[in-house]
Symmetry: C2
Subunit: 130 residues, 2 copies
């Protein structure tokens, strides 16, 4: 069952912000990284290169958490504990959408554009503060 994203904090996921994605590493420790993300209906998606450690973590343990602050108040936050699925982005259509949300495109994007995956976070539990 997908947990609902509350209207009170939906803006934090709808805006082109920077989120903290936490996965579980091979040694059992959480690993965190800053990511761009796109709210897509009731799920959240990001684009990762398949060589990234965090991508490989989620293949092994398909559970991850996205945490986002309100840039205007660090005490207003949303935590989305999620189940993870991955898919190809061979034609880069998702990456293009994601970059567009952040005012960029494939020509301005500095990271490798080969071998990109779309990673989808389906909320299992959502915790808000503030």
């Amino acid at each position: 069952m997908t947990a609902a994203i509350p209207d009170s904090h939906r803006d934090l996921l709808a805006a082109p912000g920077v989120g903290v994605l936490s996965t579980i590493g091979p040694d059992g420790r959480p690993q965190s990284m800053a990511i761009w993300f796109l709210l897509d209906g009731e799920v959240i998606r990001t684009s990762l290169h398949r060589s990234r450690q965090k991508y490989r973590n989620m293949l092994v343990t398909p559970r991850a958490t996205l945490f986002v602050f309100d840039p205007a108040s660090a005490y207003r936050t949303i935590e989305v504990r999620s189940d993870v699925t991955v898919a190809d982005d061979g034609d880069l259509s998702f990456l293009t959408r994601l970059l567009s949300h952040y005012g960029q495109d494939l020509t301005t994007f500095k990271a490798p554009t080969d071998d990109r995956a779309v990673v989808t976070f389906t909320p299992a539990r959502v915790v808000t503060n503030g």
Copy 2:
């Protein structure tokens, strides 16, 4: 062995900022929360009430990760994957130090002050960006 905190990003831990603490929950999912923290030599400490889920998570799995952004640039970050130890803070001396770092004291602190623990994060691996 304790991982070193690089001088290049030490300022992010020395400042009174808001960090994202990720622990591992009972269902195996990462859980994230915003915390205040204090860099204390080569370790980082925070204060948690013993009733908090994240505190209980760290008793079961004493591994946690602190992630901190540079408030001036979300692309300059430090990730501190840590081993966790806990201790009593019966006289609230640690909580008092932590609050002082944030310009507060016990009289202005709104959360419960009974049953507080000092949680110490000993860096096992440190990853910086930007």
